[in-house]
């Protein structure tokens, strides 16, 4: 019997990024990209962000016998992610997103095999997580998994995702009411609630979740904590790529909560980590603990963190 900091659920993806296309793809034409990157995607980025910050993190994910699963598993080994809860099937499990970018905008082509189901029975008992970082899935079997995690004493943290659902979609309200922390970005929060302003969206969500952290990109973060509004400004950094910034924010925020810090400080660390991540492509710039310390020091932020982080 052991207990870890974070149990992570959610599927893997393999992202093929075709960069700098001369125009948007269209039928009947071949477009040649100037650059190609093959990177793990999906839940991988948050697994990496948490691992880099030194949290004892286990990602429960299914992989298949296919090429893409293999690529991501190889990279996971190089990045030092814990393979303890990786489940390797003997059938293909292909999950691929082609990202094409042109003129500063992006489009996606996606394919995924198989259903996305909760980890096998016994997983929670095996790792006894302090936090469950739960993928935004509100089917009955996922809600049952979340209730089991809560009953076992875990706290629950979830990000949002793009999708065609609102608070009125069956399962969504219950999903949110099982959470301790919810961290959508402002567009997701507004789409979910139908509100036109991030603050109004946060106010509505905070009736369901004790801590709602709205990610606002260059405007930092707005966190509602049991009726108190916490405003965190983002440091000014040169932006290369915003992919993975939200995941890295979650990493910093969870690191703060796992190390027993207050919400104000956790939010500050989330914003600092997220700001660092946009300075490079994908999750390449997700900081280690020492990189986060160095950045906080340069920005004159996170006073307590610098004094107390081991």
């Amino acid at each position: 019997m052991r207990s870890c900091d974070v149990l992570l659920t959610g599927e893997y993806y393999c992202d093929l990024i075709f960069a700098d296309l001369p125009g948007p793809p269209r039928l009947g034409a071949e477009l040649v990209a100037r650059d190609l990157a093959v990177l793990p995607g999906g839940t991988y980025n948050i697994a990496l962000a948490l691992t880099r910050l030194g949290l004892d993190t286990h990602w429960a994910a299914d992989f298949g016998s296919d090429l893409f699963s293999g690529l991501v598993l190889e990279q996971a080994a190089r990045d030092g992610l814990s393979p303890m809860l990786f489940n390797r099937l003997d059938t293909p499990l292909r999950r691929v997103t082609s990202v094409f970018s042109s003129g500063g905008d992006r489009g996606f082509l996606t394919y995924g095999d198989g259903a996305i189901v909760p980890p096998p029975a016994g997983t929670l008992a095996r790792v006894r997580p302090t936090w469950l970082l739960q993928t935004f899935r509100f089917e009955p079997e996922w809600l049952a998994f979340m209730r089991e995690a809560r009953a076992g004493g875990a706290k629950l943290f979830a990000d949002c995702r793009g999708g065609d659902f609102t608070l009125e979609t069956p399962g969504v309200r219950e999903f949110l009411s099982l959470l301790d922390v919810f961290s959508p970005n402002e567009d997701e929060a507004m789409a979910l609630t139908g509100m036109q302003h991030p603050k109004k969206a946060a106010a509505q969500l905070s009736e369901l979740v004790p801590i709602v952290a709205i990610k606002r990109g260059a405007a930092g973060a707005l966190v509602a904590d049991c009726g108190r509004w916490i405003k965190v400004a983002a440091p000014q950094v040169p932006v290369k790529d915003t992919t993975g910034a939200g995941d890295t924010f979650n990493g910093g925020f969870l690191y703060g909560l796992c190390s027993g810090r207050c919400t104000e400080e956790a939010a500050e660390l989330g914003v600092l980590a997220g700001s660092l991540s946009v300075t490079d492509y994908g999750a390449l710039a997700a900081p280690t603990l020492s990189a986060l310390k160095k950045f906080a020091g340069e920005q004159g932020r996170g006073k307590m963190f610098l004094e107390t982080a081991s």
């Binding site: 108190r228 916490i230 400080e265």
Partner: protein, 450 residues
């Protein structure tokens, strides 16, 4: 209307918030933003403030931030109550001063000078940010030494800044309570400097009632005037700001300070009792219980205020329990109300003299009765001070001018001159080692001096 408390993680902030919430409707207050560099304290005080706001009906929003620009965006009023260097810095000041045989007091004398070395640059930096982000906002400075810091703000051209100290209105409050009248029914005439002021008249319906009050033993014994012998107060014929004790009983004050724990050490001990209890996770989940613990602490803190001045003194009544409009936040909120176009008020504030007190320069920040309405803040004419008060006020003002100049230029030589000008230090053989030790002890806050 957004009101910002810089130093909002401080342990007195809930009192301020409590007072502000009671006036929310009259001042149009919609948001109180607590700003502090200490995130953990912000969470704690923010949670208490949120509970207070919930009890007040939830019309006012409580926000917290560690970023001054975020705090100042959209702000109408900013209150600064910070303590650069914290309670440990205060204790260092007290102990260094005592080790040279001079008074070790937070705002008065050598230790007050040491605090100014840290407070002035900190507040000027906030003022600069405020001018950039919300140039029309008012800055109410509570940061000690309030007179010195306000002098530095005005010298640096921050015209929408004013220094506030509740002890400026001590006579008005005490007489109102004595006669069971609302404070506004008492028209006081205050003159002098912050923590060095005198109230020469206190009129009720046009009649000066101060002589009757000072003649009443019960009145003197029931107020902060008890730190002075009754005959001393009567010889002056004025209400004396309680900090004058450190001048008029200088030797006794130094001896008392050297004998036991300093005030800073007392407060640190109180804080060390309180903070762990408030920080317990379950208390954050139960802000109502946390508030009870907090108010019990605040009563203990107030009860021990100036107790070290007389061994046998009864504690001064807890300021936290006084009625609306008094104490820490009352003046600021009265001021906001008046500036917003509500009832004009008359109150003692720290503002440029502008001819109010004869014999001081127009640019000197003084503590003086002012009239405040939607046109602004106007010091009321006082005329000439009597000699006994004028000599002390003038020599301390000379020290204040030199101190502000020394901090602006980061000049050790000017700092020594400033302390020598202070009547409680007075000698080079004390001033030079004091300056050197203060600069060394607070190197992290004061920057490079030469």
């Amino acid at each position: 209307m957004k009101l910002v408390v810089v130093g909002g993680g401080g342990l007195r902030a809930p009192l301020f918030v409590d007072q502000a919430l009671r006036r929310a409707a009259r001042t149009g207050l919609t948001e109180i933003c607590l700003m502090d560099v200490d995130a953990a304290q912000l969470e704690l005080i923010g949670a208490l403030a949120t509970e207070l706001a919930r009890r007040a009906g939830g019309a006012v929003e409580i926000s917290t931030t560690t970023d001054a620009e975020t705090a100042f965006a959209g702000a109408s009023y900013v209150v600064t109550t910070v303590r650069p260097g914290g309670i440990d810095g205060r204790i260092a000041d007290e102990r260094i001063a005592l080790s040279h045989g001079v008074l070790g007091q937070e705002t008065t004398g050598a230790a007050g000078f040491a605090m100014a070395l840290r407070s002035i640059p900190t507040i000027l930096a906030y003022a600069e940010t405020l001018r950039r982000v919300s140039p029309d906002a008012w800055l109410f400075n509570f940061t000690n030494p309030a007179g010195l810091v306000t002098q530095a703000l005005r010298d640096a051209g921050y015209t929408r800044s004013v220094g506030i100290c509740d002890s400026a209105n001590g006579a008005q409050s005490a007489i109102a309570k004595w006669l069971r009248l609302p404070e506004r029914a008492v028209r006081a005439e205050v003159f002098g400097l912050n923590h060095l002021s005198f109230t020469r008249r206190a009129e009720v319906a046009g009649r000066d009632v101060l002589p009757d009050a000072l003649a009443d033993d019960h009145f003197l014994a029931g107020t902060v005037q008890r730190v002075f012998a009754p005959h001393v107060v009567r010889r002056h014929g004025m209400w004396l700001n309680e900090y004058l004790y450190y001048y008029y009983y200088a030797d006794e004050a130094v001896a008392a300070g050297a004998a036991g724990p300093t005030r800073g050490e007392e407060i640190r001990a109180l804080n060390q009792k309180l903070l762990p209890r408030l920080r317990q996770a379950e208390l954050l989940a139960d802000p109502a219980q946390a508030l009870d613990i907090y108010f019990a602490y605040e009563r203990e803190r107030s009860a021990s205020y100036m107790q070290h001045t007389h061994d046998d003194a009864e504690p001064v009544a807890a300021k936290a329990d006084t009625h609306d409009g008094e104490g820490y936040a009352g003046v600021a909120l009265d001021l906001i109300e008046a500036l917003q176009g509500g009832t004009p008020i008359r109150t003692g504030l720290n503002v440029p003299n502008a001819g109010a007190i004869a014999g001081l320069r127009d640019s000197d920040v003084v503590e003086v009765s002012c009239v405040v309405d939607h046109h602004g803040i106007r010091p009321q004419p006082i005329g000439a001070m009597p000699d006994a008060q004028a000599y002390l006020v003038n020599s301390v003002k000379h020290y204040e001018r030199l101190t502000v100049e020394a901090v602006a230029e980061r000049s050790r030589a000017l700092a020594v001159e400033a302390l020598v000008a202070h009547p409680l230090v007075l000698s080079y053989s004390r001033a030079e080692p004091l300056v050197d030790k203060f600069l060394a002890a607070h190197a992290g806050h004061v920057g490079k001096w030469s």
